[in-house]
Symmetry: C2
Subunit: 148 residues, 2 copies
C-alpha cells in the first residue's frame, strides 16, 4: 500500500511553493530541477492542483505557479486527495461508496474504516505552514550544532 509518485512529487512541489509564498510566481522548470523531477510530468500534477484551486498560475514569460491560499490553509490531505483520490485503503470505504452490497454487516469494512479515519486524521492535521515551520527548526538546529 504505497502512494504513487503523484502524491510524493506533488507534496514536495507544494512544499517548495510554500517556502516561497508571497514572492510571486515560480516557473515550473525551477521546481522540477530543484526536486530533480520531469518537468512535463510535474506539469500534469500542477494541472490537477490548479483545477481544484490549490494553486494559481500566471501564463507567459515571467510566469509560473504560486499557492492559491496561505500555507496555513492548505493541508497535506488537500494535496494528497487531489492527486491520489480518496485516501481510503479500499474502495468500499471511499466517499463515493458505490458498491459493497454487504454494507454494514461486514466486519472487515470496520477495519478499513478505522484505517481510513486514522490516515485522514493525520494528513488533515498537517498544513504546509507546519512543514515550513519544521523546516526552519531543522535548519536552525543544524546551525547551532555546527552541522554541515
Amino acid at each position: 500500500m504505497k502512494l504513487s509518485t503523484r502524491g510524493r512529487y506533488g507534496l514536495k512541489a507544494m512544499f517548495q511553493l510554500a517556502l516561497h509564498y508571497g514572492q510571486g510566481p515560480i516557473p515550473l522548470n525551477v521546481i522540477a530541477s530543484q526536486q530533480e523531477l520531469s518537468e512535463n510530468y510535474l506539469e500534469q500534477l500542477f494541472s490537477t492542483l490548479r483545477k481544484v484551486g490549490l494553486i494559481k498560475s500566471v501564463r507567459g514569460a515571467q510566469g509560473g505557479y504560486m499557492l492559491a491560499k496561505h500555507p496555513k490553509n492548505i493541508t497535506v490531505g488537500n494535496i494528497l486527495r487531489a492527486l491520489e483520490g480518496d485516501m481510503a485503503p479500499v474502495y468500499c470505504v471511499t466517499d463515493d461508496n458505490s458498491s459493497c452490497h454487504r454494507e454494514e454487516k461486514c466486519v472487515t469494512r470496520l477495519v478499513w474504516k478505522r484505517m481510513k479515519d486514522s490516515i485522514n486524521n493525520v494528513i488533515d492535521s498537517i498544513t504546509l505552514q507546519d512543514m515550513v515551520d519544521e523546516q526552519k527548526e531543522i535548519e536552525s538546529a543544524n546551525k547551532s550544532v555546527g552541522g554541515v
Copy 2:
C-alpha cells in the same frame, strides 16, 4: 493509495479461519467459495501466510488450513504486513530503509513517518478475536431488532 487484493482477500479469509478456530482444518475450496474468490489465487496467499507462521496446513483428504495461534494473538497488522509488505506509504520510511540520502533533513519524510505510525497503530491494535467479537455483536444486534 489502495491495498491490493492480497491484503483484502487475505484478511477476509483469515477472519473466516478465526470464526472456526479450534474446529479442525478447513479446506481451501470452502473458504474460496464462501468469499467468492479464486481458489488458486487464494492458495498463493495462504502459502505466504503459512510461511510466516500465521496458519498451519494439513495435507491430504480431510485436510485444510487453520490458524497457527489463538485469534487474540494474530493482529490485522501481522496479516497485512505478511501479504502487502511493510505498511509504509512511501519507501523512504520502510523498515529496510535503504535509500533516502536526505535522511533526517527531509520534512516530507516526517509527514510520511506520521502516516506510517498512524496506520500501524491501528492495524496492530486490532486482533482477529476483536473482529470475531464484533461480528457476534452485529449478529445479536440484528436479531434483537428483528433484522433479516
